[in-house]
């Protein structure tokens, strides 16, 4: 049985105008990459900052590596690495100087130069932080989180705002850390990032966990591996769609219907027939394999990006 390195039960944090975290349970096992997936404002950052000991909960229980923040802050700080959302490191200081500074805070850890090589930042070793690209800055931020050789790495929205190539490079850094036996907890609102990087995912909305599982399990929960999206004039009613073979549900956003179905070979011809019967015109039609995004839509009726 693998040990749980992060456990939180019934976590609550209420601000005057919003319940940022509203009774959240999480359990992260040693060596896994666990993702908190949810739209902006879902309470992901509040949750991860409570787990990092940077914010105090109003209620609930948190144990990290079997310890609590109240009793063992010093020891925990030595053993976790943190990358905050939007930290701006000092611009006038060079990459290696920044890393040496952070290294000096920890008992143990790799040599800053070795770490820079691992993160492909050795070419920028003597560049000032202010001169780095967004992707390089973010890798340096992660390097600062890894410089104490942590047991757990916390990443809050690690690739938000990065270009695709920088995102891939950062994912490599995370994979490399996991291969060395590290545990990762990350937040993201990119379902692609969650699917690619995470062993297990908790989908969070309004401070509550609305789904939990491996990416495959979560997608399987839709009971429908395929999604059909279409627009017709006039729009069809849900009753007309429900009669399609292998239908598992539909959500409507504006004019656009989103259908979850078992088998495209059966569903598409039946959909076209239904449109024909109604005497409507088909404006657009597309299909894709179901993703976490579709699960979020199915669970909340909203999309991750603009929820």
């Amino acid at each position: 049985m693998t040990e749980s390195v992060i456990v939180c039960r019934d976590l609550r944090k209420h601000y005057p105008d919003v319940k940022a975290v509203d009774g959240l349970d999480l359990e992260v096992l040693r060596g896994e990459c666990f993702g908190l997936l949810g739209p902006n404002g879902a309470g992901k950052t509040t949750t991860i900052e409570i787990l990092e000991g940077l914010n105090t909960p109003d209620g609930g229980e948190v144990r990290i590596l079997g310890m609590t923040w109240e009793a063992d802050e010093r020891e925990l700080r030595e053993r976790i690495g943190v990358s905050l959302q939007e930290t701006q490191l000092a611009e006038k200081i060079t990459v290696v100087e920044t890393l040496r500074l952070f290294r000096s805070f920890y008992r143990n850890g790799p040599d800053p130069d070795d770490l820079l090589r691992r993160l492909s930042l050795d070419e920028k070793r003597n560049a000032r932080v202010g001169k780095l690209s967004g992707g390089q800055k973010q890798r340096l931020a992660v390097a600062c989180a890894l410089v104490g050789e942590p047991d757990i790495l916390f990443l809050d929205e690690p690739t938000t705002g990065l270009d695709p190539q920088s995102r891939l490079q950062l994912w490599d850094v995370v994979q490399d850390y996991r291969q060395r036996g590290g545990t990762v907890l990350l937040t993201t609102h990119y379902m692609e990032e969650a699917e690619r990087l995470c062993d297990r995912i908790a989908i969070v909305d309004h401070g509550q966990r609305i789904a939990l599982g491996t990416p495959q399990e979560l997608i399987a929960r839709l009971d429908a591996p395929h999604i059909i999206e279409f627009v017709s004039t006039p729009a069809l009613g849900e009753a007309e769609l429900a009669s399609i073979g292998g239908f598992h549900g539909a959500a409507k956003r504006g004019d656009r219907w989103q259908l979850r179905v078992d088998n495209l070979a059966i569903a598409v011809p039946e959909l076209l027939a239904a449109i024909e019967t109604r005497g409507a015109r088909l404006d657009t039609l597309s299909t894709h394999a179901a993703t976490l995004e579709d699960l979020f839509v199915a669970l909340t009726g909203r999309e991750l990006r603009d929820a």
Binding site: L84, L89, A90, K92, I93, R100, F105
Partner: protein, 348 residues
Amino acid sequence: MPEKRPTRHALIELTIIRLKEFGREPDAVFWVFVFPLLLTVALGFAFREKAPERIPVGLIDGPAAQQRLAVLKKSPALQPRIYSAEAGREELRRGKISLLVEGDVTPVYRLDPTRPDSRTARVEVDDALQGGLGRRDVFQAKEEHVTEQGSRYIDFLVPGLLGMNIMGTGMWSIGFSVVNARLRKLLKRMLATPMRKSHFLAANFLQRLIFLVVEVAVVTIFAWLVFDVAVRGSMTAFIATCLIGGASFAGLGILIASRAKTLEAISGLMNVVMMPMWICSGVFFSYERFPDAVKPFIRALPLTALNDALRAVMNDGYGLVQIAPQLAILTAWMILTSFVGLKIFRWQ
């Protein structure tokens, strides 16, 4: 292959980073090192000791005027000129000349005896004219000229500028860097490491004291070379005053920066705290002119204590014992401000 270095202590790394951050900011270097020099030069020259001026006196045009003019011109104390009767009286009335010589045979001195310069002019003119007509002095006294070092305006000014500089750079450099780090969430990021908070604050103090040595040395050596302003008292007392002063303003900087969330807020707070001290603490003029009732409060201000101690050591030649009260005030400020600042410090 980059060199391998053993990991240094966090306090040393933090201090080095603060020093580098400051040194790589050209603006900061200008305001801390160049500006005080410019200020010393400008004020030093504006208020420098001038050679005694010649007293302007007038002669009414007439038969004796040319001969009298020649005699008066020989006097180093006088600057004589010939006027028409009307113009001469006009100039005297306006105070452009101190005395007017009239009369064709026996001179008539026209002057306002309430004006000190006019009385001086009377003595000088009379002396010159009598001598010119052949009066013999009974004896020729020797003169010994003295300019008391430590009593000139520049001697008053330099310690004041030093004190003001120690206050300004201490508070600005700590205040801004702390608030800036807070804005960039760098404080929060550091809080997420095992870094000891006391090390972070101690690094700010150390950085200040290291730069302070350079700052004080630059202004002091410059004032010594250019204006002959020297430290007449004990060097130990001078250094101790600067360090304790620097530390107490570093503490005040920490206190002011402890809660501020924006650069506007910290700028406002800085001005609120520093402005009264610029005015009251005797930077450019002595606070002796303030009413007696407020003097105890003025003396309790850290800049007043610092300026008084610096002047006592530099100008009066005092040592540690005599400036102990001022050092005690500064130490109290340092302890109080850093203690409260740390207590209420906002890391995120």
